[in-house]
């Protein structure tokens, strides 16, 4: 889709070299193609999705949830598990790439697992999300140059630990931000680097409990 936008723009710019009716046809054709592709794009195009799975806190459930992805050959980009505000309920935050249709189906299959309470999936605009990265560096880089200190300040990173041999820097942010800091620190020698999975909170205000109550009101249990 981006390509078509660009094409339309570039054609518009070169207006003076192409007769007007021709350019008009080109533009209309392009708009038409963009329009046609839009419907398809939404469902078929690969995108990043964040899946939130609310589950009972039982052994083996992680395996059950991940099997749904492995069966369909979907690679999990990151996975984070933690307790929620409700006791005994865990939240899995899973980031995957896939088409809307495929992920929607996967979400239903996850929700089908007996011990899964509810499963949601979001595009990036629908969530607030964050990651955390740790960088282990030799302590001597601080002694030898001030630029590392500057980088840390500029990047809103912080020093977590200082040991005689190494220091650990922490940076929270989105992937591109922690990656940018990685690039800046790399010339000074990074001993070790780790980035966490994404944690995400959905923007809609409806609470899990409300979802469950709704589901319960339309369900039969015998």
């Amino acid at each position: 889709m981006e390509n078509y936008k660009y094409l339309v723009l570039s054609l518009t710019k070169r207006r003076h070299v192409i007769p007007h009716d021709e350019i008009l046809i080109c533009i209309l054709l392009n708009f038409f193609m963009v329009y046609c592709l839009r419907g398809k794009n939404k469902k078929m195009e690969n995108k990043k999705f964040t899946i939130s799975v609310f589950t009972e806190n039982t052994i083996g459930l992680l395996h059950r949830v991940t099997t749904v992805f492995t069966r369909r050959k979907i690679n999990i980009e990151s996975l984070t598990v933690s307790e929620t505000e409700t006791q005994g309920v865990s939240r899995f935050t899973i980031v995957v790439n896939g088409s809307y249709d495929k992920i929607a189906q996967v979400v239903k299959q996850i929700e089908k697992q007996v011990e899964v309470l509810k499963c949601f999936f979001y595009e990036d605009e629908q969530i607030v999300y964050q990651e955390l990265a740790l960088y282990k560096m030799p302590t001597k880089v601080f002694a030898n140059s001030e630029s590392v200190e500057d980088i840390i300040r500029e990047s809103n990173a912080r020093v977590l630990a200082i040991e005689p041999e190494f220091i650990v820097i922490e940076k929270t942010g989105r992937e591109h931000e922690t990656q940018a800091l990685f690039k800046k620190l790399e010339p000074f020698g990074i001993l070790s680097f780790v980035r966490s999975g994404r944690v995400a909170i959905a923007k809609p205000m409806k609470r899990l409990q409300t979802h469950l109550e709704e589901l319960e009101s339309v369900s039969l249990f015998e």
Binding site: G60, R64, A104, K112, L220, E222
Partner: protein, 579 residues
């Protein structure tokens, strides 16, 4: 069941309120509390305490000793299919448990309620590669609806209660409870409460009346509606409601493989059987109907063929209990996520009475074409040897379509399901989604145990029979009067058919040199007869049907016949081949 428990209580310890028993006894009492009358299993080290408990409850709980654990799970499946409730299979740890796996996978894909109980090594040995230790929870995880490892005796009643609830509710399926040996030995205070709800589990939705209205609107204005019914109708015991709905709405009814017997094949609205080797009419008409109403089926690829050309012209209404099936393969216009029975009752109220004589005539015309090109040749062949279809036709006529028919997988299965004219429900026991060879014989045993009042006939190919033929021992030991027909073509017929059609006649490893099946059956003290000529067939079938005991009939059939019609793998239903 409460009285039974009280009875047990008074037998054991009249003074105590709660029953202080071992985990193993708790397993038995929990099964009894769930109304289990029989189990199929095989003992071994890690399950021995449970077997010791069986010893004490022989009069209340019948145990059938199979000859291989695969036999236990398939028997439990056959039992579950005819009874409409969970069958139970028991095995020891390690190889005992892994031998159940094929049947568990089969039950999963065919939505059969089965509760498997496996022994496991002592808790302190878990993960240490102990003798006969296999991580059966992980192994069975993707093919069970739910599984759970019990490591303490007091977890047993809750685990078993949940197991039965989950296996039997919503879309049924197999569950597995793995019980460590220490948990079987430990004593605890037993109390049993049936499970009626799990907070994370929503097995069934109430019928959404808006969806029903929308569906009824589509159906009421339809010109060429077609209904596809699957096993969901049988699982929800909705046969009567289906008939009422069909008769009021006038919509022609086609059946999937597992839906067979839900709707009488002799009903005027019945237009045949769907799928790869189904009838010509319902397959081609799927691509001509204007509204496709699917009830309790999952649009398996053997039904749909190529999805890109499947029913593209039709508005699709999908009645299905499992939300994950909606839009999985075929996009729906209206989805009714509900139990088939409740949905059909609601829909029956909303549809206007109609009839479609011209549309039905189109099916009749297609039937005539199929009859000329396929059926007539199958029923009155010019071959020297008997054809499978002749046997099934004769059997169907002689039993008036009322027997329980178990089949294995392959040509004999497709021929049977094409030509046996089912008139009673719960009569078609076959391995559908998994296509498990070796399923038939043990499943037929389970079916006969479940329904001793009905004639149970196992129809098996010579290949599949040899996968689980050891279960003849069960028939011998417990005198189970199952009737067995081996359709022997000395070939793996369906594979051979594919090799002929799609691999230029290169017959690779399909030729079978078989043992003397008659001697084999006789070695198990089962009456046996071999049929080689057409003249013998009728009297042999009579002898088999009339026999009060098990009876084994080997019928030598034409070596190289092909099952037609056929939708070649990957082709659309409209491309069905008649020859």
């Amino acid at each position: 069941m409460e009285t039974l428990l009280q009875e047990v209580t008074t037998e054991k310890k009249p003074s105590s309120q709660k029953l202080n028993i071992t985990g193993a006894e708790a397993v038995v009492l929990s099964l009894l509390a769930e109304g289990v009358e029989c189990v199929f299993g095989y003992p071994g080290g890690a399950i021995m305490p449970v077997y010791d408990a069986f010893y004490h409850y022989q009069d209340k709980l019948k145990h059938y000793l199979v000859r291989h654990e695969q036999g236990a799970i398939h028997a439990a499946q056959g039992y579950a299919r005819v009874k409409g409730k969970a069958g139970v299979a028991i095995a020891t740890s390690g190889p005992g448990a892994t031998n159940l796996i094929t049947g568990i996978a089969d039950a999963m894909i065919d939505s059969t309620p089965v509760v498997c109980i496996t022994g496991q090594v002592f808790r302190h040995l878990l993960g240490s590669d102990a003798f006969q230790e296999v991580d059966v929870i992980s192994v069975s995880l993707p093919i069970t609806k739910w599984n759970f490892q019990v490591t303490r005796a007091e977890e047993i009643p809750t685990a078993i209660a949940k197991a039965f609830y989950i296996a039997q509710s919503g879309r049924p399926g197999p569950v597995l409870i793995d019980i460590t040996k220490n948990a079987q030995n430990e004593r605890f205070d037993f109390e049993y409460h049936k499970c009626t709800k799990i907070r994370s589990y929503f097995p069934r939705r109430k019928v959404d009346m808006n969806a029903v209205e929308a569906a009824a609107d589509l159906l009421n204005s339809a010109k060429k509606p077609l209904m596809l019914v699957g096993q969901g109708v049988i699982l929800s015991k909705a046969e009567k409601e289906l008939k009422e709905f069909a008769e009021k709405s006038g919509i022609p009814v086609a059946s999937t493989l597992l839906g067979l017997s839900a709707f009488s094949t002799k009903h005027p609205l019945y237009v045949g059987y769907l799928g790869m080797h189904g009838n010509y009419g319902p397959n081609i008409k799927t691509n001509e109907c204007d509204v496709l109403l699917a009830v309790g089926m999952r649009f398996d690829d053997r039904v749909t063929g190529d999805l890109k050309t499947y029913a593209k012209q039709a508005k699709v209404i999908h009645i299905e209990i499992d939300p994950a099936e909606i839009d999985k393969n075929v996009k729906t216009t209206v989805a009714i996520i509900a139990d088939a029975k409740e949905a059909l009752i609601a829909l029956t109220e909303k549809v206007t009475p109609k009839s479609y004589p011209d549309w039905l005539q189109e099916f009749a015309d297609a039937d005539r074409i199929e009859y000329e090109k396929v059926v007539s040749k199958d029923f009155a062949p010019n071959t020297e040897k008997i054809k499978m279809a002749e046997v099934i036709k004769m059997l169907s006529d002689k039993t008036e379509g009322k027997a329980i028919i178990a089949t294995d997988v392959g040509q004999h299965q497709m021929t049977t399901t094409r030509y046996y004219q089912f008139t009673e429900t719960d009569s078609n026991i076959t391995s559908g989604g998994a296509g498990t060879m070796g399923f038939c014989l043990p499943a037929a045993i389970g079916a006969k145990v479940g329904r001793p009042d009905r004639q149970v006939i196992a129809i098996i190919g010579d290949g599949g029979f040899q996968m689980t033929m050891q279960e003849l021992g069960v028939i011998m030991q417990y005198k189970i009067p199952v009737k067995i027909i081996i359709l022997n073509n000395n070939f793996l017929g369906m594979v051979r058919q594919w090799q002929q059609l799609f691999f230029d006649n290169r017959y690779s490893s399909v030729d079978m040199e078989n043992p003397d099946f008659i001697k084999l059956a006789e070695a198990f003290s089962i009456k046996a007869q071999k049929v080689e000529t057409r003249e013998e067939l009728s009297s042999a079938l009579d002898a088999m049907l009339e026999s009060p005991e098990a009876y084994f009939l080997e019928i030598c059939v034409e070596k190289e016949t092909n099952v037609f019609p056929m939708v070649p793998a990957g082709a659309g239903v409209g491309d069905i081949r008649l020859e």
